[in-house]
């Protein structure tokens, strides 16, 4: 379904719930293999946009082109508690245990294939969800705040894991988050959504692995925070160690 050079093409997508317009004529292109991060405060419409791309919802108006092969990782892992971990990985696919184990191996869960999802920690469950998404070799991977419920250290490890898997498998990725630092660590391009519109569209060109001391990094961070409506002076943010870790 993807046309030409884009993995995803959205034209004039509009979506309302009751009388509230959540998406206002969104245009969006994602190149094949591009890592796009969509930033926005709660209720700005970013999850609605992701659901449109996932095929979980339809726009009222507009046109959406997405590849057939696409997978989603949700904020909560959404593993079926009554299916072993490996069965969850190949959910909706033939019961190919070797394939499931290979995918679990990639996310470091090779030893947990036979466990019940209820025995996994939050981070492990998210890794299993990543394995379930990647085993399908998607052209488009949709990540809906996948690390929001994890502790800070696990979140950093998961970000690295996603980068590694992205390099190996090369899908286009749309990651939805409200964490500016996560966006700057991961993205080729950052979008900021505000009141149902894409307010900012900035490429991020720092070399990987990304370091906060790269020239221009902090300026871009402040810019994005301002676009998100977070009022903070540059001086405060630069000297506060807490802001640097978040």
């Amino acid at each position: 379904m993807a046309s030409g050079t884009s993995a995803v093409s959205v034209r004039g997508a509009t979506r309302s719930f009751a009388s509230r317009q959540v998406l206002r004529s969104i245009d969006l292109e994602i190149a094949p293999g591009e890592f796009l991060v969509l930033l926005g405060a709660s209720g700005c419409g970013k999850t609605t946009l992701l659901r449109l791309l996932a095929g979980l919802d339809r726009p009222d108006y507009g046109r959406i082109q997405v590849p057939e092969g696409r997978s989603v990782v949700f904020q909560d892992a959404r593993l079926l508690p009554w299916r072993r971990v490996w069965r969850n990985v190949v959910l909706g696919l033939p019961r190919d245990r070797a394939r499931a184990e290979a995918a679990l191996e990639e996310v470091g869960l090779g030893a947990r294939a036979d466990d019940w999802p209820g025995t996994l920690s939050g981070g492990e469950a998210q890794r299993a969800a990543l394995a379930r998404a990647l085993v399908r070799q998607p052209e488009l991977l949709l990540l809906d705040e996948p690390f929001a419920a994890l502790d800070a250290l696990t979140r950093l490890r998961m970000q690295q894991l996603v980068l590694d898997l992205w390099r190996v498998h090369g899908p286009a990725i749309l990651l939805v988050t409200h964490d500016v630092d996560e966006a700057l660590t991961l993205a080729d391009r950052v979008l900021v959504m505000r009141e149902g519109r894409i307010a900012v569209d900035i490429p991020v060109r720092f070399d990987r692995p990304r370091v906060r001391v790269a020239p221009g990094f902090e300026r871009l961070r402040q810019h994005l925070l301002q676009e998100l409506g977070v009022v903070s002076t540059e001086h405060e943010a630069l000297t506060s160690p807490r802001a640097a870790v978040s």
């Binding site: 949700f74 079926l80 009554w82």
Partner: protein, 273 residues
């Protein structure tokens, strides 16, 4: 403060001496065993007339006598067949209707009102109606057992389906699981804890329906045995039949527990205290 010291120590020692034996299940058996012993003693001492309540040993020998001449085995077999056939039919209907109504508002509009109205009928009142419709033999009894089994499973299946996390079904949908697959992999397993509660309730309702239909009049089965024994004031046989009905209840409940153990093994990571 020396008084507390004096008080605590002997209590601790006594409780250590009286500690229960550690054989599982033994503690549960104390009550029934004591009761049986009292009953036996009272009957043998002649405190209770054997016409009112024969001794447990007398009931046991009645059981052996009837087992040896084949009467008991045949009666139990017939009653068990009625119970299981009726339960199978009723629970199948209850399960299927429960899944349909749980999943679809249209099915709910079509069936739920009717089923709730039928549920309001005390099913014992239907025994004479069914024997008029289906004749006095097997069909009417199986029909009554089925009728008793339908509703508990129906209600619990609907509740179970409605309680399944919709987000799991949504996730399965994004991974290409079709409607049938979602029912099989998400809805039914998710509703299973509630369904199994329904199965156990349905079994006990089915048994109640069996007993009442058989007692009301049966040419064969345990009910016929009871009727015959009552005629000849064989209290031991009457009580034996009551005991066997109870054992049927225990056995079917044990089966349901085994099913629970197997089907809900994923929940065993959260054991009770």
């Amino acid at each position: 403060m020396t008084t507390t010291d004096v008080n605590i120590r002997p209590v601790a020692r006594v409780s250590a001496a009286l500690r229960w034996p550690k054989i599982p299940g033994l503690r549960r058996m104390v009550g029934p065993v004591v009761l049986l012993a009292l009953w036996e003693t009272a009957a043998r001492a002649g405190w209770i007339s054997p016409v009112v309540l024969p001794a447990p040993s007398a009931i046991l020998s009645a059981a052996i006598r009837l087992a040896q001449d084949g009467t008991l085995g045949q009666a139990v077999g017939i009653s068990l067949f009625r119970l299981l056939t009726g339960f199978a039919l009723g629970s199948l209907a209850g399960f299927a209707l429960g899944i349909a109504v749980g999943l679809s508002v249209r099915a709910e509009e079509l069936f739920d009102g009717t089923l709730q109205a039928l549920r309001a009928i005390p099913f014992l009142a239907l025994a004479p109606v069914f024997s008029l419709w289906f004749g006095a033999d097997e069909a009417s009894k199986i029909a009554l057992v089925s009728f008793g089994a339908v509703f508990p499973l129906y209600l619990n299946t609907v509740a179970g389906v409605r309680a399944v996390d919709a987000r799991l079904a949504e996730a399965a949908r994004t991974f290409g699981v079709g409607r049938g697959g979602i029912i099989r992999d998400v809805i039914v397993p998710g509703a299973m804890p509630s369904i199994l509660v329904g199965v156990r309730l349905s079994l006990s309702w089915a048994l109640a329906a069996l007993v009442s239909s058989e007692i009301a009049g049966a040419a064969t089965g345990l009910g016929a045995l009871v009727a015959q024994a009552r005629e000849f004031v064989q209290t031991d046989v009457v009580i034996l039949c009551v005991v066997i009905y109870a054992l049927l209840g225990l056995a079917t409940d044990a089966l349901a527990r085994v099913a629970e153990w197997g089907l809900l093994s994923w929940r065993r990571s959260f054991p009770g205290q």
